[in-house]
């Protein structure tokens, strides 16, 4: 995407860097642009240094760019912490406060042009004035935003704080818009028609919404970064929809609570991150064996162990695929970008309900805690019905056969409260009735049933998103796939057509689908954000990759950037 502008705002605790970003995102949204805003922070629990990293365009934005056009630094405090995340170059601009002292060498080394602005000094002359609002004013001018748009964005973002805050902020923004920042017309995006259908939503909110669209009305979870936002967004909204959210005592409880609720007939979900998913494994296996539909969202963060709680990595794939003991067929779904968090979670809920099994959703911190201004995610019409045994369908001459062997492996489930449908769900291997059994024939029949119901199901075309059509194939998943899609666009404009296979359904794997898309590809590269090449090894083990396929695997927390993929693929072409 050549027509985009990237802006970072940094500042120490209390400097208002994040607020500045939120208002600017909203202002650009009001002006009709698409936007993307990720954030990062130092280790302090509250009030430490933080940074927001934004990108705006006339076209939808699904990932960050390779570099930043502008850095607005409220101060230089601990700025080196963010240097890796905010690449600058000779074409970048740095705005800093004239009162903040000398600009650190690490910034000037980039060759970026520095402009000192009288932020603090001017703020002191305005009643209730804040330096960040002056900085915001200068960014507004740079981007060609009108005072009117800024006022609307302020109202939307800070409206609850009262009229005097809005007035003081607006006074600062207007002053900031008057600062002489030089002429940088090249950074102004072509004007856009104001949009009233765009959404401003984070990936975590999008997962929460997908859950609600899928009919989830019970959630139990234990707080963990970066998944807690899903829970906090859901808690009041579930209640308004007549649902319940329980804060569990730990993840062992949350997974078993949702299993109990789902046994009671209510579509149920939990959300966690790597450490919590590890703790849930036994419970997830119980849901597989007892054929109780549940969904667990894992917003992945840096691992192993407590790892890097606030930053992203795609390193829980192995756990999601292989973490269960025993043969435990289940589903693993991964959203492809922030917008897709709505669809992927909605789909996962529907698949779990339809197939009476566990669906894991692998999101990550860079999807979950990033906000995007995007087109309203369409409401997908998905089959989403649990196969229920109603009283009139039940043969009263025998005990209810909960795990009856059926053609497609899915057995009608009676919901407590249904007369004549009584049965005991069991995680012990069981007969068709659910009675514990260690007989080889029962194990064989029930294992086949649990496997075949997943492999026989028609997942349609949503198992992957396929873009482009060139001899080079890039296979990726999750947040990294959005980066690969942008890289492929750039490659196409350079005359290197590439196809990108963004896998949404990781388990069960669509072997035939992958084989078909890889037809005629001379090179295949698997790109992912982890050290071990987890997807690459999985695809190899499943024998869907040609022997010459390569792996590009890089652990977090730095995101893989589109330019990195462009360089990589260009290199692959030259090697041939």
């Amino acid at each position: 995407m050549n027509n985009s502008v990237s802006i970072a705002v940094t500042g120490s605790g209390g400097s208002g860097a994040v607020t500045t970003g939120l208002i600017l995102l909203q202002a650009m949204a009001k002006a009709g642009y698409y936007g993307y805003m990720s954030r990062t922070a130092g280790p302090q629990i509250r009030g430490g240094e933080s940074a927001v990293m934004m990108r705006f365009s006339n076209r939808p934005v699904h990932c960050g760019d390779d570099r930043f056009d502008v850095l607005l630094a409220m101060d230089w405090h601990k700025l080196e912490r963010f240097a890796d995340e905010i690449p600058l170059d000779g074409n970048s601009l740095i705005f800093g406060d004239s009162a903040a002292g000398d600009i650190p060498e690490i910034l000037t080394a980039s060759g970026a042009a520095f402009t000192a602005l009288d932020l603090q000094q001017t703020a002191r002359s305005i009643e209730g004035g804040r330096a960040n609002m002056l900085g915001l004013g200068s960014l507004a001018r740079l981007l060609g935003l009108s005072g009117d748009t800024m006022r609307q964005a302020l109202q939307a973002t800070l409206g609850k704080k009262g009229e005097h805050i809005i007035a003081a902020s607006m006074a600062c923004i207007e002053q900031g818009m008057g600062f002489d920042i030089g002429d940088h017309g090249q950074l102004q995006l072509p004007s856009s028609a104001a949009q009233d259908s765009h959404w401003n939503i984070s990936g975590n909110e999008a997962c929460g919404l997908g859950a609600l669209r899928g009919g989830v009305r019970f959630v139990a979870a234990y707080p963990i970064t970066p998944a807690s936002d899903i829970l906090e967004w859901l808690a009041p909204r579930l209640e308004k929809l007549g649902g319940v959210l329980l804060q569990a005592e730990d993840e062992l409880a949350s997974v078993n609570m949702i299993t109990g609720a789902s046994f009671g007939g209510v579509p149920s979900l939990t959300a966690t991150s790597g450490p919590g998913l590890s703790l849930m494994m036994e419970g997830l296996g119980l849901a597989v064996a007892s054929e109780t539909p549940i969904v667990a969202i894992d917003v992945m963060r840096g691992g192993p162990s407590t790892g890097i709680p606030t930053k992203s990595e795609q390193s829980d794939l192995n756990l999601a695929l292989y973490g269960f003991h025993g043969d435990a067929p289940h589903l693993v779904v991964a959203p492809l970008d922030i917008s897709d968090c709505v669809f992927a979670t909605h789909w996962a809920v529907c698949l779990a309900e339809q197939l009476q099994t566990v669906a894991l959703v692998l999101s990550d911190q860079s999807l979950g805690q990033t906000r995007a201004v995007m087109d309203k995610p369409p409401h997908a019409e998905l089959p989403c019905q649990r196969r229920i045994a109603h009283v009139q369908d039940i043969d009263v001459s025998q005990a209810f056969q909960r795990y009856q062997l059926t053609g497609d492996g899915v057995s009608p489930m009676s919901i407590p409260g249904t007369p004549a449908g009584m049965y005991t769900a069991d995680g012990l291997e069981h007969t068709e009735r659910g009675t514990p059994s260690s007989m080889a024939s029962d194990h064989d029949a029930q294992m086949r049933k649990r496997r075949d119901k997943l492999t026989a199901y028609n997942y349609g075309s949503t198992w992957a998103r396929i873009d482009g059509n060139g001899p080079v194939a890039i296979i990726s998943w999750g947040s990294t796939s959005a980066v690969c899609r942008e890289a492929a666009e750039r490659l196409a404009s350079m005359g290197i057509p590439a196809r990108v296979i963004s896998l949404r359904l990781l388990l069960p794997l669509n072997h035939r689908g992958i084989n078909e898309v890889l037809q005629g590809c001379s090179s295949v590269v698997v790109i992912e954000q982890n050290q071990a090449g987890q997807l690459y090894h999985y695809l190899h083990a499943e024998q869907v990759l040609p022997p010459h396929a390569r792996s590009y695997a890089k652990p977090g927390p730095l995101t893989i950037r589109p330019g990195e993929v462009v360089t990589l693929i260009s290199g692959v072409i030259n090697d041939e």
């Binding site: 609600l212 019970f218 319940v244 005592e249 299993t259 109990g260 209510v266 201004v373 049965y423 005991t424």
Partner: protein, 272 residues
């Protein structure tokens, strides 16, 4: 007693795997008597358990049941009750299941005070895994795994339930099925979390528990609603007094009730 239904109507035709003389038979029969006495429709009852000999109970009762994993019965039960407050939900299991691997859920179930009944068949041993000490086992009880005894002071389930906030605390004995039935009836009728610890002998691994017949006796006093009084009685007891010790009508857990909205109006929040 409801004239229409009999205890045996609540039994399934599945034969228990328990050893002859196992105390758990008494809980099974007390529970079916309770359900018949209360006349609860079978399909509106759910019995949830973990893993252990005692946790096999649900399959023997003709109601809805969930036989989950070791230690998590209370979590499954809490989720079910939160999602389906209309059901009568009973959790059951052993002392290892409830006090060791599931100990954290026990504390929080007491605190959360959902309208659940929790029956622990306590035999002071791990029966299913063939005779290791449980949290309630005496410190000098020798097993293959603990040749010198565990050396640990026994866990005090009633005291812990009290300090964790349970509002109904009782001890029953498998050798006194009538009292046990009454306790379960009262536990189900109690609004909030009711905890019933059952002295349930394991003749296979703890044959000396035959003596419990001589040792078990009713509490000397009526139940109290004063937690300090209850604590004193529990701590001065040898663990063999049976009956209801404490009942306090603490507010049970209730789902929140914000004004209703539909999903479409929630989605409007995201509009720029």
């Amino acid at each position: 007693m409801n004239e229409m239904v009999k205890p045996k109507d609540y039994k399934t035709d599945i034969k228990p795997i328990w050893c002859p003389g196992c105390g758990d038979f008494a809980t099974l029969s007390a529970l079916t008597k309770t359900l018949a006495y209360l006349g609860l429709p079978k399909h509106e009852v759910a019995v949830v358990s973990g893993i252990g000999c005692s946790s096999r109970l649900p399959a023997y009762i003709d109601s809805y049941g969930f036989h989950g994993v070791h230690g998590r019965a209370l979590a499954v039960a809490a989720g079910l009750k939160a999602a389906r407050p209309d059901l009568t939900v009973i959790a059951a299991g052993g002392d290892g299941d409830g006090y060791s691997i599931g100990g954290n859920h026990f504390l929080h179930a007491c605190r959360r005070n959902m309208d659940l009944t929790y029956i622990v068949m306590d035999n002071h041993v791990y029966g299913m895994t063939k005779g290791q000490p449980s949290p309630t086992t005496e410190p000098d009880w020798v097993s293959k795994l603990t040749p010198h005894g565990s050396g640990l002071r026994p866990f005090q389930p009633l005291a812990i339930a009290l300090s964790s906030g349970a509002g109904f605390i009782a001890r029953g004995f498998a050798g006194d099925p009538l009292t046990l039935t009454r306790l379960i009836v009262d536990g189900i009728n109690h609004r909030g979390f009711s905890f019933i610890e059952v002295l349930s002998p394991c003749p296979t691994f703890r044959p000396e528990q035959k003596q419990w017949k001589q040792l078990a006796r009713p509490w000397q006093q009526e139940a109290t609603s004063d937690p300090i009084e209850a604590a004193m009685r529990i701590h001065s007891d040898d663990g063999m007094s049976t009956g209801l010790i404490y009942q306090n009508n603490l507010p049970p857990w209730q789902p929140g009730t914000m004004p209703a909205r539909d999903l479409a109006s929630i989605e409007q929040e995201f509009l720029v």
